[in-house]
Symmetry: C2
Subunit: 166 residues, 2 copies
Amino acid sequence: MARTLLKAPGGDWKTRSCMRDTDPSVFFEVFNEIGIIEQLSRAILEARLPHGLIAPHFAVLNHLVRVSDGRTPMEIARAFQVPKTTMTHTLKGLEQHGLVEMRPNPEDGRSKRVWLTDTGREVRAGTIAALGPDFMKLAQDFDVSRLSDIRPVLTELREYLDAARD
Amino acid sequence: MARTLLKAPGGDWKTRSCMRDTDPSVFFEVFNEIGIIEQLSRAILEARLPHGLIAPHFAVLNHLVRVSDGRTPMEIARAFQVPKTTMTHTLKGLEQHGLVEMRPNPEDGRSKRVWLTDTGREVRAGTIAALGPDFMKLAQDFDVSRLSDIRPVLTELREYLDAARD
DNA sequence: CTTTTGTAGTTCGAAATCGCACCAATGGAG
DNA sequence: CTCCATTGGTGCGATTTCGAACTACAAAAG
């Protein structure tokens, strides 16, 4: 259940007469909508992914394309803010599917480096291509400029929350 | 790994000269930010939750307060768009913690109805209260009006994706 | 009324997340 | 150089998600 937060605790706070305090219901609403959208968009992605691959696999593939491969597992884990054990498991799945290759790191005997295979690049590109029609349909029915408008706010919110986590 | 999508497949599409086609990178960017924010906000919530409870538990508690309790498990599962087996498991956890009570449905021998206990209501209210300082801090550092501005767009996007899933 | 079809909920098994403990290698303090 | 705190990675176990199969009941069809 990805939708973590909730519709609106609302009443508890909205009925307060002193509005100098911040009304938190907008936070609940925004975080709730974000939770639902995350769940739905993940379902869309996974519907286009080859059988046996899930969103985290694709996220890693895409990350390695964006910021060239050869990253260490810990670098990737930090980029996604997941525990290293989770990344070990995700990379094992990618390796078993022949999408990445893990070699020892010549500069540090403790770590490894993750390299994309040709198959891995093809799967990533193919998935993006397969998503094309979904995005086209979304663009037809939904004003894309409104998404462009909210993106900076989302980015700023993400950066704030990211920096604020202890 | 909640951050499902990704920063930007970007180049693959942006370099196209024909801009009559929609540039999908904005979708990737928005969905990626949303994925990260979902993960971070879930962590904030779970940090304030009593030990043993996770976000889905709270989401159900809150749902039952918002739309009075006495719902059936299937009604709740549909509201959150999770498989019924997942809801069975979540409700079992809530019941073991004494936060909800499940009774047979007198109107339908197949189903049950879920009722909040006093403890359940207290835990929900206490968690919201515990989140207060977090929200206050966020409100200090972040312009709340910008969140209010994006909320309608998020709601519309959520409604569209919700309706579009087959 | 009997049969068929559909729905609510659980059980079970597979896969995923993640904390804990562990080992190997690093690198700074003395 | 030696000690030792730190870091990268893995194995293990507990918990969560979720599809498939199953039971019990309900509702529609005959």
